[in-house]
């Protein structure tokens, strides 16, 4: 009997259900003090003196630290392949200037959070307000956000392949569309947070951090604090959701860590919801102009695109990743011979952006899938048929796109067929015809996607004890995905033991081997594969000795193996169908159904995989229906609470049906790809196509998300 492939309920659930999980704010340390931040009320200002006199006079206030009080470097900036990235790392506390409303200017340490907030209100800061820079399309002409970054271009990347100019000149038809994809807030229900404790006698700084893994905080804090990794330990406790937003470490974490060393006291920062809205990096935020050149039979001859990413005031290590990924995935599931794609990542005076579930992939899917539907409208072809004429065929893999990435495997047409069936497209089209005759506004939309997943490397240490129990130390790290169950399933199969005999250790840099972490839907494909490699090494040794692994472990008093698994990128894919109806008098959009077909390669646990699909799909629906981070003309975030930035509730949930197509990846021993993001990638594209389809009789070709009542009502008039 094998465990991989079975819908095993999670074994870690009991501690969460009984209220016994340990999240960051649940940790108790003796003498722990609490932190609050003084944050800039201005989007863009020169920073003058910081006067902490009144704050320090409050009983119970231990310290107030400003940027000049900390001997630290800005957080590190990360690059992208083939791109140029400016040196504009996020300062730990603002220096000289503030570049978004909510930027941390000073840190207050006190005996309680309430007291720290009392004191933060008393810190007086001189600001000289400057003109905000808000529109990424106009930013090159605005005031410089960073004096050394010309035209406010923080990131530049471009690629031309084939002869797009000739293709457009010779095309039967061409279509062009401009897009605006708003910023979003990841909004994990647990905000961010950290505890830092320095032990001067051994000079070890321990940072407990609500993060997606210990490795990146370790590297980024080490850089900012100038601290070697052997004097720094990062521990990730249970994490209440991340969705990409706890990947790069926040400046607040570095500030608390530096202050703990400076002051010699342990300090906790538990982010509140307001801070999370104002200061946690946001997702998406992209303007784009896209063109397709088309042959008369519907073949796509060339793609041209200019992307303007609204990156905010600084670059995190991962800020450049999303727009680069968008660019690299713009061909989607299609064979397009010629491309000309340019990305400008623009400095604006808003909180920086970073990865949020999908991280560039939803933008790519939205752009290319909308363009394909627009092209189908132009040519009078069925949108599904146009897709079929352009798919990368199954025999073309591995397939290198003209943008440069190589798709490992895929079955795009099978996915589309399955989604058309599951979404009952034919029946819905009939229903749509009736509905239109009655004056109702119904739409059906398809959205394909490819998801870059995995890549780089991951590690696993495996020890099988003499009594047969196995301990897996993984560089991968859970925040809701269920590693303790899926990794145990993998180990159980490889070792021939029950999953209950497998313990999974994660999260503590002092305990686990070096690794990369949990993001980009990479845990099973990379961390799981590292575990497989380690287990197979033990199995080979056992076989050589003519024993089972358990027998070998018993004979040798325990056996160990370590593995580092490396692979190229793998590409999950899929097809989604959405059916929507718009209420004419009010403009309200109702999503009636979503059919989700995901090809994530081999599925380790269908129950958990389905959970990922459902969760990602509902996040995608939120982006269609209600979610949008809105800044006003002063650069203030107008949607800085759950009262203004709504998340969907159980009452809004439409019918969602999912199905898996399993095209194994040839790049790892599990054949796994990624499952964490597909729903968030494809749902907005499918819903956007359904909305445009619904509105087609009203002469509407395109609508940007979110599809709010007011927007749709105006289009229906």
């Amino acid at each position: 009997m094998t465990w991989v492939g079975r819908p095993v309920p999670r074994r870690e659930d009991a501690r969460f259900l009984r209220g016994e999980a340990t999240y960051l704010d649940d940790l108790e340390l003796p003498g722990l003090l609490e932190a609050a931040f003084v944050r800039s009320p201005f989007a863009h200002a020169r920073l003058g003196a910081v006067d902490a006199g009144a704050a320090l006079a409050l009983p119970g206030v231990v310290a107030v630290l400003a940027g000049s009080d900390l001997d630290v470097l800005p957080l590190p900036v990360g690059g992208v392949e083939g791109g140029v990235v400016a040196d504009a790392g996020h300062p730990v506390l603002a220096r000289g200037k503030v570049r978004y409303a909510g930027e941390a200017v000073a840190l207050v340490v006190a005996g309680s959070r309430a007291l720290a907030e009392d004191a933060a209100e008393l810190v007086e800061v001189d600001y000289e307000p400057l003109e905000p820079v808000l529109d990424p399309r106009a930013a090159s002409a605005g005031p410089l956000v960073h004096d050394h970054v010309a035209e406010n271009a923080l990131v530049r990347w471009s690629r031309v392949h084939g002869d797009p100019e000739a293709a457009f000149a010779a095309a039967h038809a061409a279509v062009a569309q401009s897009f605006h994809i708003p910023r979003l807030v990841a909004a994990p229900i647990e905000p961010r947070g950290a505890i830092a404790r320095h032990e001067p006698e051994v000079d070890i700084l321990t940072v407990w951090c609500s993060a997606q893994d210990p490795h990146r905080p370790l590297a980024q804090l080490g850089h900012a604090l100038g601290r070697d990794r052997d004097r720094l330990r990062v521990v990730v406790p249970d994490v209440g959701g991340a969705f990409g937003s706890k990947g790069a470490v926040g400046p607040e974490v570095a500030a608390v860590a530096a202050a703990a060393v400076e002051l010699g006291v342990p300090i906790r920062w538990t982010e509140d919801r307001t801070e999370n809205f104002l200061a946690a990096y946001q997702g998406r935020g992209l303007d784009a102009d896209v063109e397709l050149a088309l042959a008369s039979d519907g073949r796509i001859l060339a793609l041209r695109a200019a992307l303007y990413a609204d990156l905010g005031g600084y670059l995190y290590a991962t800020t450049a990743v999303a727009p680069h990924t968008t660019a690299m995935l713009l061909c989607g599931t299609y064979r397009i011979p010629a491309v000309d794609v340019e990305v400008v990542g623009v400095a604006t005076t808003k909180v920086p952006t970073g990865p949020y579930r999908g991280a560039g992939r939803p933008e790519a899917a939205f752009l290319i899938e909308r363009m394909v539907d627009i092209a189908a409208g132009e040519l009078g072809l069925d949108p599904a048929e146009l897709r079929r004429r352009n798919f990368v065929p199954p025999d073309a893999f591995p397939y290198q796109t003209p943008l440069g990435w190589t798709y490992d495997s895929g079955s795009f047409e099978r996915c589309l067929d399955a989604a058309v069936e599951l979404g009952e497209v034919e029946r819905r089209r009939v229903e749509q015809a009736w509905a239109r005759a009655e004056g109702r506004v119904l739409g059906v939309g398809v959205g394909m996607y490819v998801e870059r997943a995995a890549g780089l490397w991951e590690s696993a240490d495996l020890r099988v004890e003499a009594d047969g129990r196995a301990v897996v130390r993984t560089g991968s790290s859970p925040h809701g995905q269920g590693h303790e169950t899926t990794f145990a399933q993998i180990a159980a199969d490889e070792l021939g033991v029950d999953p209950e005999a497998v313990e999974i250790v994660w999260g503590d840099s002092g305990e686990v081997p070096p690794g990369i972490g949990t993001f980009a839907s990479r845990s099973v494909a990379m961390g799981g594969s590292a575990l497989v490699v380690a287990a197979r090494e033990l199995a080979a040794r056992a076989t050589q000795a003519g024993l089972s692994v358990a027998e070998l472990a018993a004979a040798e008093g325990g056996v160990e193996a370590s593995a580092r698994f490396e692979s190229g990128l793998v590409f999950a894919s899929g097809a989604y169908v959405a059916v929507v109806e718009i209420d004419r008098p009010t403009g309200r959009l109702r999503v009636l159904s979503v059919a989700a077909v995901d090809d994530s390669g081999r599925i380790v646990n269908p129950l958990l995989a389905e959970g990922q699909v459902l969760g990602a799909t509902v996040q995608g629906l939120g982006q269609c229906l209600v979610e949008e981070a809105v800044h006003d003309e002063e650069g203030q975030l107008r949607t800085a609470s759950f009262a203004d930035y709504s998340l969907l509730t159980a009452a809004e949930l439409p019918a969602i049906e999912g199905r898996f197509v399993e095209t194994p990846s040839p790049l790892n021993p599990l054949g796994a790809k990624g499952i964490g993001e597909g729903g968030a990638i494809a749902t907005p594209a499918a819903v956007a196509n359904a909305v445009a389809d619904a509105l087609a009789p009203f002469g509407v070709r395109h609508v940007d998300p979110p599809f709010t009542e007011a927007k749709l009502w105006r289009l229906l008039r």
């Binding site: 959070r113 309430a114 307001t274 009010t586 609470s641 159980a650 009542e709 007011a710 009502w713």
Partner: protein, 272 residues
Amino acid sequence: MKPAAFAYDDPRELGHVLDLLAREGEDVKVLAGGQSLVPLLNFRLARPDRLVDLNRVEELAYLRRDGDVLRIGALARHADLERSEEVAAGWPLLAAAVRFVGHVQIRARGTVCGSVAHADPAAELPVALAALDARFHVRSARGSRTLGAEELFLGFLTTTLEPDELLVEIEVPAPPAGSGSAFVEHARTHGDFALGGAAAVVAGREARLALLAAGPVPLRAREAEEVVATRGSFPEAADAAVAALELTGPDADWRRALLRELALRALERAAA
């Protein structure tokens, strides 16, 4: 997000509450259900010197039918209204409206009088009460007075209550014999703040209509009621309901259309 410090009293008797409210030189706020006030405290948008907590004043914790009228004491909670069989039978509009108030956890704690005193034009019960011609009984150490909705609601989150006054009871007359009622609302998500809404009570050509999120105060649409009385047309009444609204902002055109549609639906459902 922790409140700034405040002094706190939780008196047992109404007289003591009124004495505390009469104290000069302090910004005193009344704490009832706290479902609107405590978020403001947590955001530090409200920073009273003193909170006077009504929750231990048992004489205010009542919801009862008294002859033809419903009496809602200052500590009657939304959940009391929601569960009351007398309310369901005699004042179905209130029973319908209260289910739109936040969520069950909010209704367990929030009070009807507190919602009225908060005077949010997007709140459900002030609008339903306005449509039912409710009377608002106010007490202070100086004496007492009784107000109608149009005398009570002054502006956005503002009433004509003086700082020393407490809304102690809402008296709701029975709806007209043979009337039907309906409450409709439009929000982005379930329990989210309403973007528009309407409460209607209809008996033949006698209609009462009040609108939610249609201006700075819970709004009684008298013009629309007049149109129903004189012309008997709900669509024309809905037009009249929104014709005079002073709506501002980028979505004012949509909000007017939304309110018209909701007014129409409320009238039609109330008459059905």
